[in-house]
């Protein structure tokens, strides 16, 4: 490729990048470096003095049973949310790919939960299922099922998973529909002529060809479940009951802002940063691969 044609200004480009650079330095790099610095300090209980403790905060955090519990909670929550949201969306997208009339209509009705804030999604589900006034909680109780997500850990987990997945269905749906449209119809028709039924066609042709979309969405959904669902947890369960729904991000917030254990909270932030970097790296490797794929 020949070098790009450019404008020969000396000063202007610096002026153009300045606003973004300034904000990035003040609100990203400075705080991130502070987080790393703080993760090596320990403050006394009154916040008057702090001492350098090296990697001691990390050692403490990683051997804290509450933190290990929180890792487990996050993994269960993320995997369940991603799988549920993607399975439902893929199923509906395959159905939408079959219909001829009304495609746009279905899409319009399917996409708007995308605009609902995660915290609001959590509250919507809480209204329906909270033990004191929720209609569905009332119906479950009438059916003889003991239902109280405010006291029962697994039920609280179930509630936040369903709410988090519900919000993500529309996003996944859009991508699966786009992915399905990219699959050549001739392939599917050839299989049909060879006598493959609909189920067989799905598992042997459509599903493998959708793999790039599926993998991309898996990364996106995991990131979503890790970070964007803070609102759901905070609004619906507050990490409880006990610590049954305390995810990693919620714990950073809780230890830092509510319990004021600064050093350990900072250490947790640094661990989260490492996780994000890993997730982003996976995502970019995949994006690069995809260029060669099709």
């Amino acid at each position: 490729m020949s070098p790009r044609v450019t404008f020969p200004n000396k000063f202007l480009p610096y002026l153009l990048v300045a606003p973004q650079l300034a904000i990035t330095l003040v609100f990203f790099y400075w705080p991130a470096s502070q987080a790393i610095y703080q993760s090596t300090l320990r403050e006394d209980p009154f916040g008057l003095d702090s001492a350098f403790v090296g990697l001691d905060n990390f050692r403490r955090v990683l051997s804290d049973p509450n933190y290990l519990n929180s890792i487990q909670v996050t993994v269960i929550f993320s995997v369940a949310t991603a799988v549920l949201a993607m399975a439902v969306a893929m199923f509906l997208a395959v159905m939408a790919d079959k219909v001829i009339r009304g495609k746009g209509f279905y899409r319009t009705l399917m996409i708007w939960p995308y605009a609902v804030a995660p915290a609001i999604a959590g509250m919507l589900w809480l209204f329906m299922f909270n033990p004191s006034m929720g209609t569905f909680a009332y119906m479950l109780r009438s059916a003889g099922i003991y239902w109280d997500p405010l006291l029962n850990g697994p039920q609280a987990m179930l509630l936040v998973i369903v709410a988090a997945a519900w919000k993500q269905i529309s996003y996944n749906f859009l991508f699966f529909v786009a992915g399905l449209q990219a699959i050549p119809k001739t392939l599917v028709e050839a299989a049909a002529i060879d006598g493959a039924g609909e189920t067989k066609r799905f598992w042997t042709i459509i599903f493998p060809l959708l793999a790039p979309t599926t993998f991309f969405l898996l990364v996106i959904n995991t990131t979503y479940a890790f970070f964007d669902t803070f609102g759901i947890i905070h609004a619906v369960t507050g990490g409880g009951p006990g610590k049954a729904t305390e995810t990693l991000v919620y714990k950073v917030y809780n230890d830092g802002f509510v319990n004021l254990i600064l050093g350990e909270s900072a250490a947790q932030s640094v661990i989260l940063m490492v996780i994000v970097i890993a997730l982003t790296a996976v995502q970019f490797r995949y994006v690069e691969k995809k260029v060669h794929y099709g």
């Binding site: 904000i23 159905m95 009705l109 708007w112 995308y114 915290a119 209204f127 006034m133 859009l174 905070h234």
Partner: protein, 282 residues
């Protein structure tokens, strides 16, 4: 298409309708609840059809003030959310189109350093640097201000990367032709680049407006005063399960009002939004 019976199409339609009902039901049910009196809501099961308190409830929430929020009206909360969402969307588009323009159409020392500095922020979401960022806000006196709600969120690599990607597809001949005709960098930006980017800007606007509107952690941290809350945070503050006087009928109204504006943006700008989302994030 070959190999597809009309029966399977009918099954597909039915499944889709059931799917849509499940997706829409929580919102419909909240709407129903928002039109009933507090007494009806507190005695489950709730009827499936809207009640008669629509005007009374919505009027009270919008203009009457909410006790749990120290008398702040939902109208104020809506206004705050709109300012924040618009500020984030427009601010992000503004600073990232400028920096992408500089990185693609100019050659200057440190160009790639700047690019990587911006690019790496993809890996530093607010959630991983909560406390220190909060401290910066306190030091800069930005707590309880619109600037505090907006500015830290407008620097993000995604929009810059998107514009960079798009600018790279613009043929060099176009730049050359503009320069031969005597257009300077500003003229080229205003008369050629901006019109060409219109679709991208529209798509990005929708995505970023939703992003701004649905923020939770950040507004929770930087607002203490009730009249500076966004609607999502205000709603959270109205609810207390331990406390028997949560005004549930007003909570339902606020819930619906917090959903309507972003949904309208998505539905009316659907064409750009869908294309933007599917094309940019891939």
């Amino acid at each position: 298409m070959i190999g597809q019976s009309s029966v399977s199409r009918i099954i597909a339609h039915v499944t889709l309708i059931i799917g849509i009902l499940i997706v829409a039901f929580p919102i419909y049910y909240t709407f129903v609840a928002s039109t009933h009196s507090l007494q009806t809501i507190l005695r489950p099961p709730l009827p499936l059809l809207p009640g008669r308190e629509f005007f009374a409830n919505y009027y009270q929430a919008l203009f009457g003030g909410i006790g749990q929020l120290g008398g702040v009206t939902v109208w104020t909360l809506l206004l705050n959310s709109t300012i924040v969402a618009l500020g984030i969307a427009l601010g992000k588009i503004f600073i990232s189109i400028l920096s992408a323009y500089a990185i693609v159409f100019f050659r200057f020392p440190l160009r790639m350093v700047f690019f990587w500095l911006i690019f790496i922020t993809l890996m530093l979401p607010v959630e991983v640097r909560i406390l220190p960022t909060y401290k910066v806000m306190v030091d800069l006196n930005l707590i309880d201000t619109y600037a505090g709600l907006i500015v830290p969120l407008i620097a993000s690599a995604t929009a810059t990367l998107l514009f960079r990607q798009f600018f790279l597809t613009i043929p060099g001949e176009l730049v050359e032709a503009a320069r031969v005709d005597g257009a300077g960098p500003w003229r080229f930006f205003k008369d050629i680049l901006l019109p060409l980017s219109a679709t991208n800007i529209a798509a990005l606007f929708v995505i970023l407006f939703i992003y701004g509107w649905t923020q939770y952690l950040w507004p929770l941290l930087v607002t203490n005063r009730n009249d500076m809350n966004t609607i999502v945070i205000g709603l959270r503050k109205m609810i207390s399960f331990a406390d028997a006087d949560t005004p549930w009928h007003l909570v339902m109204v606020t819930c619906i009002l917090s959903i309507v504006p972003p949904v309208l943006v998505v539905v009316f700008m659907q064409r750009w939004f869908v294309r933007g989302l599917v094309e940019t994030e891939k």
